[in-house]
């Protein structure tokens, strides 16, 4: 993972990506106990290309392919880890990146989404594993519930949250 993050940091330094942060199961591991996962989800802001309003992952894939990384379906394997890059497409994802938490993995600087944004994104995605993860965050006391409510309210997710509370809490 150290090598994976070093390459992603270099990609950022070279201007191929702007901000990024670890999301998904690896992001959740920052706050919870480690749970086996196959890949790393990276939420990322892509730089605007001149003369284009489209956000495309092509420059990122080209950059990595030239450095020996191979594509496997929706992942690109960077230093042993399959990585899925998820361009931040809406305000929830963009704000999540703005408030990402800086940290280090074996001396390599990186960023992880805050617990509250990880929960908000999991709530919106809504798969069984997402709902399970939300419960783990709550059981561990890893989220600031008022901050979470503020985020959910801001992004139109309060009714989904109240449904979740009625069903699971």
């Amino acid at each position: 993972m150290k090598d994976t993050l070093s390459i992603i940091n270099q990609m950022q330094a070279d201007g191929v990506i702007d901000h990024y942060a670890i999301a998904g199961a690896v992001g959740a591991t920052f706050y919870l106990e480690p749970a086996a996962t196959f890949d790393i989800d990276i939420l990322v802001v892509l730089p605007n290309l001149p003369d284009s309003s489209l956000l495309t992952l092509s420059p990122l894939y080209t950059y990595l392919s030239h450095r020996g990384c191979r594509v496997e379906r929706e992942h690109i394997v960077i230093g042993n880890w399959p990585v899925q890059f998820l361009p931040a497409g809406d305000d929830l994802e963009k704000n999540a990146l703005t408030e990402a938490v800086p940290t280090e993995v074996e001396g390599v600087r990186t960023w992880v989404l805050s617990a509250e944004y990880l929960v908000a994104l999991a709530l919106r995605t809504g798969r069984l594993k997402d709902r399970t993860r939300i419960l783990e965050f709550l059981e561990r006391g890893a989220v600031d519930r008022q901050r979470l409510r503020d985020i959910l309210s801001c992004h139109g997710l309060l009714s989904a949250w109240e449904h979740f509370e009625r069903r699971y809490l």
Partner: protein, 56 residues
């Protein structure tokens, strides 16, 4: 038993991110070994089936 499990989970959650990532990597490696063993077994079964068909 449950208390020990809960304490273990708390301990695991309290580790540094680097330590947790090392654990993730070991879990992933173990999954790969198990998956590879499964494929070898399937391969062996397929070979046996093929041998049987060839013998028939």
């Amino acid at each position: 038993m449950n208390r020990n499990k809960e304490e273990w989970r708390k301990y695991m959650a309290s580790l540094s991110f680097s330590e947790k990532i090392r654990i993730l990597e070991r879990l992933r490696e173990r999954s790969r070994v198990i998956a590879a063993a499964g494929l070898r077994k399937q391969g062996a079964t397929a070979r046996q089936d093929s041998d049987k068909r060839a013998a028939d």
